[in-house]
Amino acid sequence: MTSVIDRRQFLQLAGLGTIGVVFGSALPGMARAAGQDDFYFVQLSDTHWGFEGAPNPDAKGTLKKAVASVNALSEQPDFIVFTGDLTHTTDDPVERRRRMAEFKDIVSALRIKNVRFMPGEHDASLDSGKAFKEFFGATYYTFDHKGVHFIALDNVSDPRALIGEEQLAWLGADLKQQRADAPIVVLTHRPLFDLAPQWDWATRDGAKAVELLMPFKNVTVFYGHIHQEHHHMTAHIAHHAAKGLMFPLPAPGSQPNRAPLPWDPAQPYKGLGFRSVDAELKEAAYRITEYPVIKA
């Protein structure tokens, strides 16, 4: 990787005006010094493969276009994460597996092969994650990358939107191995805080996970579920929701029901997209760049 600044400059020169940049850290505005260990990853979310309906007339094409856009990034990420709702729910276990197989086949076209998957409630809540595990492995796990400790949390395999005592104990034991200033990134599907409980945009025992994370100075959470960009702080912990890749949803609590926003023929794929996250290890900061589905 030459330099993340070069990549940013390239994007700016390319005139991609729809790209937004957010400093996803409690330490914004620091001088950038792209070190050898700085890296970036891409987050895709809520692809809902199998959904059909007016909110997305290109339901079978959107994910493929997003994969092509990721592949077209001038500098490829170190890895890619999918933060849940890979597939749209179905009562039929055979159909669920068919959707997972199709999804897996489509994303196998990603140039980067280091891909991490998390379940969403559409993938895992009706069978406690059984099909998901068959196709994608464990529903919660950790991995380390260039000094950052990543923790994938499962708040969907229990349909009650619970992380559960067993997983919380696992989280607590994992965190005991970390330094207080270790850079920690949590990847999950639902918000860990009460974003909009009247829309079920919460994790019932999410506060317990946040409490376990609170003693650590450098924690950032990336999640999905709400099909839109959103940023929130619980004390010093930043939480960043990602756009989806099937249909956007209204702003939290802005209307009685959380119905998908209508497709706009004048602006197809509006509200959909993916993001890159630049990790700047020296400052334990993350720079978020939002991308549209189709590369401009």
């Binding site: 009562d91 009706l126 969907v156 349909p159 009650r160 409980p197 079920d200 009685p256 029901n257």
Partner: protein, 125 residues
Amino acid sequence: MKLNARTLRIAAGAAALGLASIATYVAAQPAQPKERIIRIDAKRFDYTPGELTLKKGEAVILELTSRDVLMGFNLPEFNLRADMIPDKVTRVRFVPDKTGSFTFLCDIFCGTKHEEMNGRLTVIE
């Protein structure tokens, strides 16, 4: 006060009875205004009834059950939630303390139209 053996046996028996004794005591009190019972049935993907109107300050007993799978009844603005269990009635006492229109929703993922499984509570003066 010196307690004789019989008094001690009565006291020990009362302690052993625990909650049952308390319940009996409550039942023996002068009659309270009877709380209205409201039964709410859930099935994928709606509630019956889907709209409730209550008076502020009126105590009611919600009797919650599901006709098919495990569901949730969540009324976040009142910090009230309960499971709706097939073939079992869950009773929840509820006294709305504010007026307005509020959403109640299923908070246990139950299938394709889970996100649409909402009801509305209106609380009037």
